[in-house]
């Protein structure tokens, strides 16, 4: 296992496992419960990030295939397998995300038999499915090379040329079709991005950016596994220098030969830069032609986003690649490639999300589950990429995976060190799974959403008998109820005079306000002061009139000239004298009359204290226990061993 990308692998596993849970929830609970997609915003993160941007980023299969097989540029042949792998994973990733995105995933096959030839999406569907099949056919020989089914691989390899040409035609079709999709929405897409040339822009940027993705990945793979072809030969030991680590010679890090694959990568980047340069010029000309340039300085963030996309994501990489020293250094080329790839992704997000939804007059923020599935699918593709790179020959040397040569010293058949290496990977990943799966479960399961934020509204108590002498108190209707004998308590505590022992407040004008009227949530405190009602009521009383009569009455309660806060307000009881209960005599009006505690707290506070005292007074310890009121628990406590029937309906 390579240590240099171990952290990256850990992060990818975390994202993939988290996405796995999110994907499961999406399939189980449906789109409405897990995503922020609505009828106004039906195209969200998955379609734009995974499908449209993902497909664009994995264009390298078709562009490098075109260079190698059609233009006969054989120097790019070493990159062919990786290009195809990127295309395969990119398209697989898109198809997987799309499967989560369509309303009924099990009907994904409908376009095969139910043709709608008027739809751009129908064309896109066929192209993506066919191209995914094509890339599969192209990838399989690499995998089969190391198995016994090599003959099938050889056959597939034999038909590769035809398959590649078929794939190229499909690619040139659907990349422009994806752009054409947005042609039908001129009212929605922001003027900066909307243009009749969108299909052309889409295919040009995808071709240029896709090649840069391949350049970036080749450099990263070299960095992780086998630096020599890109970063040059390992530096030679310094003659006569003293070694800092015994057994390891000091290396001369200043002298490094150039990697033998660097000229090829620089060449590919140059081709890409030419395409991107043409794309840039075309974009600018179009901007001037349509007059959309005036929106660049317009209100909001479309202008800056457009500028970052075009300057940072197109012009900057072109300039960087044009610089000879930058083009020749792996780091410089890597930065240029990263800029181009990020710019391409930003362009698709701009067209699909940032430049699109302001026109819909709505805001769309993808939900946690959407982010999780979107990023999780990409992370899974990343892991699959690393697995293939480590175990199969996708670079130039045939039959030799990059992982094999690097760590051979660690794989000792006698000491069984290899088993530890294998196990440590297994231990690590399974440990990540143990932590992440429950965490993702709790974070995204709909049943926990209420507890952590939404609140649980309280239902009023029910009357067990006609006279409501016995009340069934079950605020959130979960079955853990209390049958409260109201009449009996009233009798014991002293008849009509005893109400105030428990009840402390009623709504003005009401004599028997139930607890649930103010204590409205099971777990959260509730604000009970109705400011709007006070405005109109005070205005009516003070003889105000007009549409905003209440505005003149602020000083009825708030002090003249002082800040109009809840603290600097006159005592509620000065008006509500007749509504206040004696129990409230020492209450702080700004707290006790403005906020009601949660229903659970209120009920427990009013019953438990009294019961605890009574338990001591009459020497009945059971009176203070939970089961004294919660009959549901009492039944379980009564017998030593009893199978209790479920309390749910």
């Amino acid at each position: 296992m390579a240590k240099s990308n171990r952290l990256l692998k850990d992060v990818l596993w975390i994202l993939a496992l988290w996405g796995l849970v999110a994907g499961g929830f999406r399939l189980w609970f449906g789109l409405g419960a897990t995503t922020n997609l609505t009828d106004a915003v039906p195209w969200g993160l998955w379609k734009i990030l995974n499908m449209i941007a993902g497909v664009a980023l994995s264009t390298s299969g078709f562009t490098v295939g075109f260079l190698v097989y059609v233009l006969r540029r054989k120097r790019f042949l070493p990159l062919m397998r990786m290009a195809i792998l990127v295309a395969f994973l990119g398209y697989g990733c898109s198809c997987l995300a799309l499967l989560f995105d369509i309303g009924l995933p099990h009907r994904f096959w409908h376009p095969f038999v139910m043709w709608n030839e008027h739809s751009f999406l129908f064309e896109v569907f066929w192209c993506v499915i066919l191209y995914f099949t094509v890339t599969t056919i192209e990838v399989v020989p690499t995998i089969l090379e190391r198995t016994r089914a090599e003959r099938i691989g050889k056959f597939l390899h034999g038909i590769a040329f035809g398959v590649v040409v078929f794939g190229i035609s499909l690619s040139s079709l659907h990349h422009s079709s994806l752009g054409s999709l947005f042609l039908v929405t001129p009212e929605r897409l922001h003027e900066l991005w909307y243009s009749e040339l969108l299909p052309v822009f889409f295919i040009l940027s995808a071709m240029g950016g896709g090649m840069m993705v391949l350049v970036l990945l080749r450099i990263l793979v070299a960095r992780w596994y086998d630096p020599e072809p890109i970063f040059g030969a390992t530096p030679a030991p310094v003659e006569g220098a003293e070694s800092t680590v015994p057994g390891f010679p000091t290396l001369n890090r200043n002298v490094r030969g150039a990697g033998r694959e660097m000229p090829m990568l620089a060449n590919l980047a140059t081709i890409s830069a030419f395409i991107l340069g043409g794309y840039f010029v075309l974009k600018v000309v179009d901007l001037v032609r349509t007059g959309a340039w005036q929106f660049l300085a317009g209100h909001g963030w479309p202008g800056p986003l457009y500028a970052v996309e075009l300057l940072g994501g197109v012009l900057l990489p072109v300039v960087l690649v044009a610089c000879r020293p930058v083009r020749r250094s792996p780091l410089g080329l890597g930065v240029a490639a990263f800029c181009a790839a990020a710019g391409l992704a930003l362009n698709r997000l701009n067209v699909g999300i940032f430049g699109y939804w302001p026109g819909a007059e709505t805001t769309y923020v993808p939900s946690l589950a959407e982010w999780s599935v979107g990023l999780g699918v990409i992370a899974a593709a990343g892991l699959a990429f690393l697995v293939v790179v480590e175990n199969f020959a996708i670079l130039e040397r045939k039959n030799q995976p990059v992982g094999a040569g690097v760590f051979r010293a660690a794989f000792d058949a006698f000491s069984h060190v290899y088993r530890n290496a294998l196990n440590s990977g297994l231990h690590r990943v399974s440990l990540i799974a143990v932590i992440m799966l429950p965490l993702a479960w709790v974070a995204m399961h709909p049943s926990y959403r209420d507890v952590t934020g939404g609140g649980r509204p309280v239902q009023p108590s029910q009357g067990v008998d006609v006279a409501r002498a016995v009340l069934r108190i079950d605020g959130d209707r979960t079955g853990l109820s209390v049958d409260f004998n109201h009449a009996d308590h009233q009798r014991r505590l002293g008849g009509d005079q005893a109400c105030v022992t428990c009840h402390h407040l009623a709504v003005p004008g009401d004599k028997t306000t139930p607890c649930s009227r103010c204590h409205r949530d099971m777990v959260d405190p509730t604000g009970i002061f109705d400011h709007r009602h006070h405005l109109t009521a005070v205005a009516a009383k003070a003889g105000g009139h007009g549409a905003l009569a209440g505005n003149g009455t602020c000083t009825e309660c708030h002090q003249e000239g002082a800040a109009r806060s809840a603290v600097l307000v006159k005592d509620c009881r000065s008006c509500h004298e007749k509504d206040g209960w004696p129990a409230l005599a020492g209450a702080d009006p700004t707290v006790d009359l403005a906020v009601a505690t949660s229903f659970q707290t209120a009920m427990h506070a009013v019953c438990v204290e009294c019961h605890k005292n009574e338990a001591v007074r009459v020497a009945k310890p059971g009176l203070g226990d939970c089961g004294a009121c919660h009959a549901d628990l009492r039944r379980r406590e009564d017998s030593l061993f009893a199978v209790v029937a479920p309390s749910r309906d």
């Binding site: 932590i435 952590t452 226990d625």
Partner: protein, 232 residues
């Protein structure tokens, strides 16, 4: 406070329980995998009947009753009874299992739960006392051995106080929150500490070293090495 309690008994409990179940499953799978890959063929000749028999008999206290460990072993065994039964079958916990997972377990009476809880707490204190006071035990104890016992005592003690408002000098909400949080922490600790023996004890005997161990083997080895006056 009320919100914190709801959070601790809802999502946090589910999280802790999920981590425990998956963590233990991971340990079992890794153990089986390592046995299959690492021992492989050699396991075919293992004395399976003997291994099974020993796993069961060593889980019972009788073999442990040898000179000098009688009190420690009985306390250890008695502690396990309450440790397993009360979290599962206390009436309030039965309600929790039902709410969380929809399973319906039989429940034990409050009186029996109290007896078992007090017995467990007493035994835990005895075990902790041994660790502190007997230098024979202290010699083989690591820091984990001490704080794991404390981590076991806290949820049981706070749970007992929460169900007995008359004996509880603190606010009920505080005690309940301490009970819930410490119990959740304990669940998370299970797969990552030696508490993992809840599943791994089944694998203890599948090892050539264990087959050689007899009760009192340590003493006999020490005796042979250092003479009869050796103390550890």
């Amino acid at each position: 406070m009320e919100q914190a309690i709801t959070l601790a008994r809802g999502p946090l409990f589910a999280l802790a329980f999920g981590i425990m179940v998956l963590g233990l499953a991971r340990l079992v799978l890794l153990q089986v995998y390592e046995l299959a890959v690492g021992k492989g063929r050699r396991l075919q000749n293992a004395p399976w009947r003997k291994i099974m028999g020993e796993t069961i008999t060593w889980a019972l206290p009788f073999k442990h009753f040898i000179k000098g460990t009688l009190l420690f072993s009985s306390a250890s065994f008695a502690m396990h009874i309450g440790l397993i039964l009360v979290p599962l079958f206390l009436a309030d916990h039965v309600a929790m299992w039902e709410r969380q997972f929809g399973v319906n377990l039989p429940s034990m009476g409050r009186g029996m739960a109290d007896v078992l809880t007090l017995l467990t707490l007493f035994c835990l204190l005895v075990l902790l006392g041994f660790r502190f006071l007997s230098w024979r035990h202290r010699a083989v104890s690591t820091p984990t051995d001490y704080w794991l016992l404390v981590a076991l005592i806290v949820p049981f003690a706070s749970g007992f106080l929460a169900t007995h408002p008359g004996l509880n000098p603190f606010r009920w909400e505080v005690v309940m929150l301490v009970h819930l949080l410490s119990a959740n922490l304990l669940l998370v600790l299970v797969p990552f500490t030696k508490l993992a023996h809840v599943v791994l004890f089944a694998f203890d005997r599948i090892s050539e070293i264990h087959w050689q161990l007899r009760p009192g083997a340590g003493d006999r080895v020490a005796n042979a090495l250092f003479g009869s006056e050796a103390k550890v």
